[in-house]
Protein backbone atom coordinates (compact mmCIF):
# COMPACT_ATOMS: atom_id res chain seq x y z
CA UNK A 1 0.00 0.00 0.00
CA UNK A 2 1.21 3.49 -0.85
CA UNK A 3 0.27 6.29 1.53
CA UNK A 4 0.97 9.87 0.56
CA UNK A 5 0.44 12.22 3.49
CA UNK A 6 0.33 15.99 3.17
CA UNK A 7 3.24 16.14 0.73
CA UNK A 8 4.61 19.58 -0.14
CA UNK A 9 7.31 20.36 -2.64
CA UNK A 10 8.69 23.51 -4.27
CA UNK A 11 11.31 24.20 -6.88
CA UNK A 12 12.63 27.52 -5.60
CA UNK A 13 9.64 29.84 -5.47
CA UNK A 14 7.50 27.55 -7.56
CA UNK A 15 5.16 25.48 -5.44
CA UNK A 16 4.61 22.20 -7.27
CA UNK A 17 2.91 20.06 -4.64
CA UNK A 18 0.76 21.83 -2.11
CA UNK A 19 -0.40 19.25 0.39
CA UNK A 20 -1.17 16.01 -1.40
CA UNK A 21 -2.99 13.20 0.42
CA UNK A 22 -3.59 9.95 -1.40
CA UNK A 23 -3.75 6.28 -0.50
CA UNK A 24 -3.36 3.60 -3.12
CA UNK A 25 -4.44 0.12 -2.11
CA UNK A 26 -2.91 -3.04 -3.41
CA UNK A 27 -4.44 -4.10 -6.71
CA UNK A 28 -5.80 -0.64 -7.35
CA UNK A 29 -5.23 1.48 -10.45
CA UNK A 30 -5.27 5.21 -9.75
CA UNK A 31 -5.08 7.62 -12.66
CA UNK A 32 -3.82 11.16 -12.15
CA UNK A 33 -5.15 13.70 -14.62
CA UNK A 34 -4.80 17.46 -14.89
CA UNK A 35 -3.08 20.20 -16.84
CA UNK A 36 0.67 20.23 -17.43
CA UNK A 37 2.52 21.64 -14.45
CA UNK A 38 -0.16 20.65 -11.96
CA UNK A 39 2.30 18.38 -10.12
CA UNK A 40 1.26 14.90 -11.26
CA UNK A 41 4.65 13.79 -12.60
CA UNK A 42 6.51 15.32 -9.68
CA UNK A 43 4.38 13.32 -7.29
CA UNK A 44 5.40 10.08 -9.02
CA UNK A 45 9.08 11.01 -8.73
CA UNK A 46 8.53 11.73 -5.04
CA UNK A 47 6.95 8.31 -4.48
CA UNK A 48 10.12 6.47 -5.47
CA UNK A 49 12.47 9.11 -4.06
CA UNK A 50 13.83 10.34 -7.37
CA UNK A 51 12.77 13.70 -5.97
CA UNK A 52 12.92 14.84 -2.37
CA UNK A 53 9.99 16.45 -0.57
CA UNK A 54 9.83 19.54 1.63
CA UNK A 55 7.11 18.44 4.03
CA UNK A 56 4.87 15.45 4.66
CA UNK A 57 5.56 11.77 4.23
CA UNK A 58 5.33 9.01 1.65
CA UNK A 59 4.95 5.45 2.95
CA UNK A 60 5.43 2.42 0.74
CA UNK A 61 4.47 -0.75 2.60
CA UNK A 62 4.83 1.31 5.79
CA UNK A 63 8.43 2.26 4.90
CA UNK A 64 9.00 5.99 4.94
CA UNK A 65 10.47 6.79 1.52
CA UNK A 66 12.32 9.97 2.39
CA UNK A 67 13.56 8.91 5.81
CA UNK A 68 17.33 9.27 6.09
CA UNK A 69 17.63 5.69 7.29
CA UNK A 70 15.70 4.21 4.38
CA UNK A 71 17.76 2.41 1.76
CA UNK A 72 16.26 3.99 -1.32
CA UNK A 73 17.94 1.64 -3.80
CA UNK A 74 16.39 -1.26 -1.91
CA UNK A 75 13.02 0.45 -1.83
CA UNK A 76 13.03 1.12 -5.57
CA UNK A 77 12.98 -2.61 -6.24
CA UNK A 78 9.34 -2.49 -5.16
CA UNK A 79 8.52 0.48 -7.37
CA UNK A 80 8.79 0.16 -11.12
CA UNK A 81 8.72 3.44 -13.00
CA UNK A 82 8.16 4.14 -16.69
CA UNK A 83 8.70 7.59 -18.17
CA UNK A 84 7.17 9.70 -20.90
CA UNK A 85 10.43 9.73 -22.88
CA UNK A 86 11.00 5.94 -22.55
CA UNK A 87 14.56 6.47 -21.25
CA UNK A 88 15.69 3.18 -22.66
CA UNK A 89 19.48 2.75 -22.51
CA UNK A 90 20.66 3.52 -26.06
CA UNK A 91 23.95 1.63 -25.74
CA UNK A 92 22.30 -1.67 -24.80
CA UNK A 93 20.20 -4.14 -26.78
CA UNK A 94 16.59 -4.66 -25.76
CA UNK A 95 17.59 -7.82 -23.92
CA UNK A 96 20.40 -6.09 -22.03
CA UNK A 97 18.19 -3.11 -21.26
CA UNK A 98 16.01 -5.48 -19.29
CA UNK A 99 18.66 -7.78 -17.86
CA UNK A 100 21.02 -5.03 -16.60
CA UNK A 101 19.20 -4.33 -13.34
CA UNK A 102 18.41 -8.02 -12.87
CA UNK A 103 22.13 -8.70 -12.77
CA UNK A 104 23.21 -5.61 -10.85
CA UNK A 105 20.36 -5.14 -8.41
CA UNK A 106 18.81 -8.59 -8.01
CA UNK A 107 22.21 -10.30 -8.42
CA UNK A 108 20.92 -12.88 -10.87
CA UNK A 109 23.29 -14.97 -12.96
CA UNK A 110 23.73 -14.12 -16.61
CA UNK A 111 21.59 -17.04 -17.76
CA UNK A 112 18.87 -16.43 -15.21
CA UNK A 113 18.64 -12.73 -16.02
CA UNK A 114 18.67 -13.24 -19.79
CA UNK A 115 15.93 -15.88 -19.57
CA UNK A 116 13.77 -13.66 -17.42
CA UNK A 117 14.42 -10.64 -19.64
CA UNK A 118 13.45 -12.64 -22.70
CA UNK A 119 10.27 -13.82 -21.01
CA UNK A 120 9.20 -10.26 -20.24
CA UNK A 121 10.08 -8.99 -23.70
CA UNK A 122 7.96 -11.73 -25.22
CA UNK A 123 5.15 -10.78 -22.89
CA UNK A 124 5.10 -7.20 -24.24
CA UNK A 125 5.34 -8.45 -27.82
CA UNK A 126 9.02 -7.82 -28.54
CA UNK A 127 10.05 -11.39 -29.24
CA UNK A 128 11.56 -10.43 -32.60
CA UNK A 129 13.51 -7.49 -31.15
CA UNK A 130 15.61 -9.05 -28.40
CA UNK A 131 18.94 -8.10 -29.96
CA UNK A 132 17.88 -4.80 -31.43
CA UNK A 133 19.07 -1.51 -30.03
CA UNK A 134 16.52 1.13 -28.98
CA UNK A 135 17.41 3.27 -32.00
CA UNK A 136 16.12 0.43 -34.17
CA UNK A 137 12.74 0.34 -32.41
CA UNK A 138 9.66 2.49 -32.92
CA UNK A 139 8.44 4.72 -30.10
CA UNK A 140 5.76 2.24 -29.12
CA UNK A 141 8.25 -0.61 -29.08
CA UNK A 142 10.68 1.42 -26.99
CA UNK A 143 7.96 2.19 -24.52
CA UNK A 144 6.98 -1.47 -24.29
CA UNK A 145 10.66 -2.24 -23.76
CA UNK A 146 10.69 0.25 -20.88
CA UNK A 147 7.61 -1.42 -19.42
CA UNK A 148 9.23 -4.86 -19.72
CA UNK A 149 12.36 -3.49 -18.04
CA UNK A 150 10.32 -2.26 -15.09
CA UNK A 151 8.20 -5.43 -14.87
CA UNK A 152 11.15 -7.82 -14.94
CA UNK A 153 12.14 -6.51 -11.51
CA UNK A 154 8.81 -7.89 -10.20
CA UNK A 155 7.84 -4.62 -8.57
CA UNK A 156 4.86 -4.46 -6.23
CA UNK A 157 3.86 -1.13 -7.72
CA UNK A 158 4.13 0.47 -11.11
CA UNK A 159 4.43 4.23 -11.57
CA UNK A 160 3.63 5.34 -15.10
CA UNK A 161 4.39 8.90 -16.10
CA UNK A 162 2.47 9.96 -19.23
CA UNK A 163 3.83 6.97 -21.02
CA UNK A 164 1.78 7.49 -24.17
CA UNK A 165 2.27 11.25 -24.50
CA UNK A 166 5.40 11.06 -26.66
CA UNK A 167 3.97 8.44 -28.99
CA UNK A 168 2.48 8.81 -32.43
CA UNK A 169 -1.29 8.34 -32.17
CA UNK A 170 -1.26 5.01 -33.97
CA UNK A 171 1.22 3.60 -31.44
CA UNK A 172 -0.72 4.57 -28.33
CA UNK A 173 -3.03 1.57 -28.61
CA UNK A 174 -0.33 -1.07 -28.31
CA UNK A 175 1.03 0.48 -25.11
CA UNK A 176 -2.43 0.89 -23.57
CA UNK A 177 -3.13 -2.78 -24.41
CA UNK A 178 -0.08 -3.71 -22.36
CA UNK A 179 -1.40 -1.66 -19.45
CA UNK A 180 -4.83 -3.26 -19.68
CA UNK A 181 -3.16 -6.64 -19.46
CA UNK A 182 -1.31 -5.55 -16.32
CA UNK A 183 -4.42 -4.11 -14.74
CA UNK A 184 -6.20 -7.41 -15.38
CA UNK A 185 -3.36 -9.21 -13.63
CA UNK A 186 -3.97 -7.07 -10.56
CA UNK A 187 -0.86 -4.88 -10.74
CA UNK A 188 -1.07 -1.83 -8.49
CA UNK A 189 -0.49 1.24 -10.61
CA UNK A 190 -0.37 4.99 -10.35
CA UNK A 191 -0.86 6.27 -13.87
CA UNK A 192 -0.33 9.87 -14.91
CA UNK A 193 -2.23 10.15 -18.16
CA UNK A 194 -4.05 12.35 -20.60
CA UNK A 195 -5.90 9.36 -22.04
CA UNK A 196 -9.26 9.98 -20.39
CA UNK A 197 -11.06 7.09 -22.14
CA UNK A 198 -8.34 4.77 -20.90
CA UNK A 199 -8.66 6.13 -17.36
CA UNK A 200 -12.39 5.65 -17.51
CA UNK A 201 -11.98 2.05 -18.59
CA UNK A 202 -9.13 0.87 -16.38
CA UNK A 203 -8.89 3.09 -13.30
CA UNK A 204 -10.48 2.30 -9.98
CA UNK A 205 -10.14 5.93 -9.04
CA UNK A 206 -9.24 9.08 -10.92
CA UNK A 207 -7.66 12.12 -9.25
CA UNK A 208 -7.82 15.54 -10.85
CA UNK A 209 -4.78 17.69 -10.06
CA UNK A 210 -4.96 21.45 -10.04
CA UNK A 211 -2.22 23.81 -8.87
CA UNK A 212 -0.41 21.22 -6.80
CA UNK A 213 -3.50 19.90 -5.07
CA UNK A 214 -5.86 17.01 -5.64
CA UNK A 215 -8.83 19.12 -6.60
CA UNK A 216 -11.26 16.25 -6.97
CA UNK A 217 -11.02 12.48 -6.69
CA UNK A 218 -13.49 9.70 -7.28
CA UNK A 219 -14.50 6.73 -9.37
CA UNK A 220 -14.03 7.27 -13.10
CA UNK A 221 -17.74 7.29 -13.53
CA UNK A 222 -18.22 10.09 -11.05
CA UNK A 223 -15.20 12.18 -11.89
CA UNK A 224 -15.17 11.90 -15.65
CA UNK A 225 -18.86 11.65 -16.48
CA UNK A 226 -20.14 13.70 -13.65
CA UNK A 227 -17.52 16.07 -12.23
CA UNK A 228 -18.69 18.19 -9.31
CA UNK A 229 -16.17 20.99 -9.35
CA UNK A 230 -15.98 23.69 -11.95
CA UNK A 231 -12.22 23.35 -12.59
CA UNK A 232 -12.62 19.65 -13.27
CA UNK A 233 -15.44 20.33 -15.67
CA UNK A 234 -13.41 22.96 -17.50
CA UNK A 235 -10.41 20.67 -17.82
CA UNK A 236 -12.41 17.72 -19.06
CA UNK A 237 -14.40 19.76 -21.54
CA UNK A 238 -11.11 21.00 -22.99
CA UNK A 239 -9.57 17.61 -23.60
CA UNK A 240 -12.57 15.40 -24.28
Amino acid sequence: MIKIKDVHKSYGDLKVLDGIDLEVNNGEVVCLVGASGSGKSTLLLCVNALEGIDKGEVLVDEISVHDKNTNQNELRKKLGIVFQQFNTFPHLTALNNVSLALKLVLKMSKKESNDLAEEHLIKVGLKEKLNHYPSELSGGQQQRLAIARALAMSPSYLLLDEITSALDPELVGEVLDTLRMLADEGMTMIVVTHEIPFAREVANRVAFFHEGKIHEIGSPKDLISNPKKIRTKEFLSKIL
Binding site: L45, N48, L50, N73, E74, R76, K77, L79, G80, I81, F83, Q85, N87, T88, F89, P90, H91, L100, A101, L104, V105, Y133, A146, R149, A150, M153
Partner: protein, 220 residues
Protein backbone atom coordinates in the same frame (compact mmCIF):
# COMPACT_ATOMS: atom_id res chain seq x y z
CA UNK B 1 65.35 24.23 -59.95
CA UNK B 2 64.74 21.02 -61.81
CA UNK B 3 68.36 20.00 -61.88
CA UNK B 4 68.16 19.02 -58.21
CA UNK B 5 69.22 15.40 -57.70
CA UNK B 6 67.46 13.59 -54.87
CA UNK B 7 69.79 11.78 -52.53
CA UNK B 8 67.74 9.21 -50.66
CA UNK B 9 70.61 6.92 -49.69
CA UNK B 10 71.75 9.22 -46.92
CA UNK B 11 68.24 9.10 -45.45
CA UNK B 12 68.10 5.28 -45.46
CA UNK B 13 71.40 5.23 -43.61
CA UNK B 14 70.01 7.41 -40.84
CA UNK B 15 66.61 5.72 -40.74
CA UNK B 16 67.33 4.11 -37.33
CA UNK B 17 67.90 7.61 -35.93
CA UNK B 18 64.62 8.80 -37.44
CA UNK B 19 62.81 5.86 -35.86
CA UNK B 20 64.38 6.68 -32.53
CA UNK B 21 62.91 10.18 -32.86
CA UNK B 22 59.56 8.72 -33.93
CA UNK B 23 59.46 6.47 -30.89
CA UNK B 24 60.11 9.44 -28.61
CA UNK B 25 57.30 11.29 -30.39
CA UNK B 26 54.95 8.35 -29.92
CA UNK B 27 55.94 7.96 -26.29
CA UNK B 28 55.31 11.65 -25.55
CA UNK B 29 52.00 11.49 -27.41
CA UNK B 30 50.74 8.49 -25.47
CA UNK B 31 51.95 9.68 -22.07
CA UNK B 32 50.71 13.25 -22.50
CA UNK B 33 47.33 11.93 -23.64
CA UNK B 34 46.96 9.52 -20.73
CA UNK B 35 48.05 12.10 -18.17
CA UNK B 36 45.85 14.71 -19.86
CA UNK B 37 42.86 12.38 -19.79
CA UNK B 38 43.36 11.51 -16.12
CA UNK B 39 43.56 15.19 -15.18
CA UNK B 40 40.58 16.01 -17.42
CA UNK B 41 38.51 13.31 -15.68
CA UNK B 42 39.12 15.09 -12.40
CA UNK B 43 38.69 18.62 -13.78
CA UNK B 44 35.36 17.77 -15.37
CA UNK B 45 34.08 16.81 -11.91
CA UNK B 46 35.63 19.85 -10.23
CA UNK B 47 34.01 22.04 -12.86
CA UNK B 48 30.66 21.39 -11.18
CA UNK B 49 31.92 21.15 -7.62
CA UNK B 50 30.26 23.19 -4.88
CA UNK B 51 33.68 24.44 -3.84
CA UNK B 52 34.24 27.76 -5.59
CA UNK B 53 38.03 27.39 -5.39
CA UNK B 54 37.97 24.11 -7.33
CA UNK B 55 35.56 25.56 -9.86
CA UNK B 56 37.75 28.60 -10.48
CA UNK B 57 40.90 26.51 -10.56
CA UNK B 58 39.37 24.41 -13.34
CA UNK B 59 38.13 27.46 -15.19
CA UNK B 60 41.58 29.05 -15.09
CA UNK B 61 43.29 25.85 -16.24
CA UNK B 62 40.97 25.45 -19.23
CA UNK B 63 41.25 29.10 -20.08
CA UNK B 64 45.07 29.14 -20.11
CA UNK B 65 45.37 25.77 -21.86
CA UNK B 66 43.03 26.70 -24.67
CA UNK B 67 43.78 30.37 -25.15
CA UNK B 68 47.58 30.46 -25.18
CA UNK B 69 49.94 28.93 -27.74
CA UNK B 70 51.29 25.48 -26.86
CA UNK B 71 54.74 26.85 -27.59
CA UNK B 72 54.31 29.45 -24.88
CA UNK B 73 53.15 26.74 -22.48
CA UNK B 74 56.34 24.81 -23.19
CA UNK B 75 58.43 27.95 -22.61
CA UNK B 76 56.70 28.54 -19.29
CA UNK B 77 57.39 24.97 -18.23
CA UNK B 78 61.01 25.00 -19.38
CA UNK B 79 62.18 28.57 -18.75
CA UNK B 80 59.41 30.15 -16.67
CA UNK B 81 59.39 27.65 -13.84
CA UNK B 82 63.14 28.09 -13.56
CA UNK B 83 62.48 31.43 -11.88
CA UNK B 84 61.03 29.49 -8.97
CA UNK B 85 63.97 27.12 -8.90
CA UNK B 86 62.05 24.37 -10.69
CA UNK B 87 64.34 23.14 -13.44
CA UNK B 88 62.72 20.62 -15.74
CA UNK B 89 64.50 18.58 -18.38
CA UNK B 90 63.29 19.29 -21.90
CA UNK B 91 61.56 15.89 -21.89
CA UNK B 92 59.58 16.61 -18.73
CA UNK B 93 58.84 20.18 -19.83
CA UNK B 94 57.35 19.06 -23.15
CA UNK B 95 55.47 16.17 -21.57
CA UNK B 96 54.12 18.43 -18.83
CA UNK B 97 53.13 21.26 -21.17
CA UNK B 98 51.40 19.03 -23.71
CA UNK B 99 49.63 17.11 -20.93
CA UNK B 100 48.54 20.46 -19.46
CA UNK B 101 47.27 21.53 -22.86
CA UNK B 102 45.56 18.18 -23.47
CA UNK B 103 43.84 18.30 -20.09
CA UNK B 104 42.26 21.65 -20.96
CA UNK B 105 40.85 20.48 -24.27
CA UNK B 106 39.89 17.04 -22.99
CA UNK B 107 37.94 18.53 -20.07
CA UNK B 108 35.80 20.37 -22.58
CA UNK B 109 35.35 17.22 -24.67
CA UNK B 110 34.30 15.26 -21.58
CA UNK B 111 31.96 18.02 -20.46
CA UNK B 112 30.29 17.84 -23.85
CA UNK B 113 30.09 14.06 -23.49
CA UNK B 114 28.41 14.24 -20.10
CA UNK B 115 25.96 16.91 -21.12
CA UNK B 116 24.97 14.80 -24.14
CA UNK B 117 23.66 12.10 -21.80
CA UNK B 118 20.18 13.11 -20.79
CA UNK B 119 19.42 13.55 -17.10
CA UNK B 120 16.60 11.07 -17.65
CA UNK B 121 19.10 8.25 -18.08
CA UNK B 122 20.18 8.85 -14.53
CA UNK B 123 16.57 8.74 -13.34
CA UNK B 124 15.85 5.59 -15.30
CA UNK B 125 18.87 3.79 -13.84
CA UNK B 126 18.09 4.93 -10.30
CA UNK B 127 14.47 4.04 -10.81
CA UNK B 128 15.55 0.45 -11.46
CA UNK B 129 17.40 0.39 -8.16
CA UNK B 130 20.96 0.91 -9.44
CA UNK B 131 23.16 2.75 -6.98
CA UNK B 132 25.25 5.80 -7.93
CA UNK B 133 28.33 3.79 -8.83
CA UNK B 134 26.44 1.28 -10.98
CA UNK B 135 24.55 4.10 -12.68
CA UNK B 136 27.79 5.75 -13.72
CA UNK B 137 29.69 2.63 -14.73
CA UNK B 138 26.96 0.79 -16.61
CA UNK B 139 24.71 3.56 -17.90
CA UNK B 140 26.35 6.99 -18.02
CA UNK B 141 30.04 6.30 -18.85
CA UNK B 142 29.41 3.97 -21.81
CA UNK B 143 27.30 6.69 -23.39
CA UNK B 144 29.87 9.39 -22.62
CA UNK B 145 32.57 7.20 -24.12
CA UNK B 146 30.62 6.89 -27.31
CA UNK B 147 30.28 10.65 -27.67
CA UNK B 148 33.85 11.55 -26.76
CA UNK B 149 35.72 8.73 -28.48
CA UNK B 150 36.29 10.33 -31.88
CA UNK B 151 36.97 13.85 -30.60
CA UNK B 152 39.47 12.29 -28.18
CA UNK B 153 41.17 10.57 -31.11
CA UNK B 154 41.57 13.94 -32.79
CA UNK B 155 42.99 15.38 -29.59
CA UNK B 156 45.43 12.47 -29.46
CA UNK B 157 46.68 13.33 -32.93
CA UNK B 158 46.83 16.99 -32.04
CA UNK B 159 49.02 16.05 -29.08
CA UNK B 160 51.37 14.29 -31.47
CA UNK B 161 51.70 17.48 -33.52
CA UNK B 162 52.28 19.40 -30.31
CA UNK B 163 55.24 17.27 -29.31
CA UNK B 164 57.13 18.55 -32.38
CA UNK B 165 57.46 21.86 -30.53
CA UNK B 166 59.94 20.03 -28.34
CA UNK B 167 62.58 20.92 -30.93
CA UNK B 168 62.60 24.44 -29.60
CA UNK B 169 64.07 23.33 -26.28
CA UNK B 170 66.40 20.79 -27.83
CA UNK B 171 64.35 17.63 -27.61
CA UNK B 172 65.16 15.09 -30.33
CA UNK B 173 61.70 13.81 -31.05
CA UNK B 174 60.90 13.19 -34.70
CA UNK B 175 61.02 16.83 -35.82
CA UNK B 176 64.01 17.61 -33.62
CA UNK B 177 65.90 14.56 -34.78
CA UNK B 178 65.10 15.26 -38.43
CA UNK B 179 66.34 18.83 -38.11
CA UNK B 180 69.53 17.60 -36.52
CA UNK B 181 70.12 15.01 -39.26
CA UNK B 182 69.48 17.35 -42.18
CA UNK B 183 71.86 19.90 -40.70
CA UNK B 184 74.56 17.26 -40.69
CA UNK B 185 73.88 16.03 -44.22
CA UNK B 186 72.58 19.12 -46.02
CA UNK B 187 69.63 17.11 -47.36
CA UNK B 188 66.70 18.95 -45.79
CA UNK B 189 64.07 18.06 -48.35
CA UNK B 190 64.71 14.31 -48.24
CA UNK B 191 64.76 14.16 -44.43
CA UNK B 192 61.71 16.33 -43.89
CA UNK B 193 59.81 14.44 -46.56
CA UNK B 194 60.46 11.10 -44.88
CA UNK B 195 59.65 12.61 -41.47
CA UNK B 196 56.34 13.80 -42.91
CA UNK B 197 55.61 10.28 -44.11
CA UNK B 198 56.33 8.89 -40.64
CA UNK B 199 53.98 11.46 -39.06
CA UNK B 200 51.28 10.55 -41.54
CA UNK B 201 51.84 6.88 -40.86
CA UNK B 202 51.42 7.34 -37.10
CA UNK B 203 48.32 9.53 -37.53
CA UNK B 204 46.68 7.14 -39.94
CA UNK B 205 47.44 4.18 -37.68
CA UNK B 206 45.76 5.94 -34.77
CA UNK B 207 42.77 6.93 -36.92
CA UNK B 208 42.34 3.49 -38.41
CA UNK B 209 42.54 1.65 -35.11
CA UNK B 210 40.18 4.06 -33.40
CA UNK B 211 37.80 3.79 -36.34
CA UNK B 212 37.94 0.04 -35.98
CA UNK B 213 37.24 0.16 -32.24
CA UNK B 214 34.46 2.69 -32.77
CA UNK B 215 32.73 0.48 -35.31
CA UNK B 216 33.25 -2.84 -33.65
CA UNK B 217 32.69 -2.02 -29.99
CA UNK B 218 30.95 1.34 -29.80
CA UNK B 219 28.58 1.17 -32.78
CA UNK B 220 29.53 4.70 -33.88
Amino acid sequence: MLDYTFQWKVVWKRLPDLFEGAILTLELTILSSIIGLLIASILVIWQKNDNIFLRNFTKTWISIARNTPALLQIYIAYFGLGSFGIHLSSYVAVLGAIAFNNAGYMTEILRGGFSSVSKNQNQAAKGLGLNNFQTYVYVIYPQVLKTVFLPMTNQFIWAMMGTSLGIIIGLQELTGMTTFLQSQTFRPFEFYFIAALIYIFISKSILLSSGFIAKKYLRI
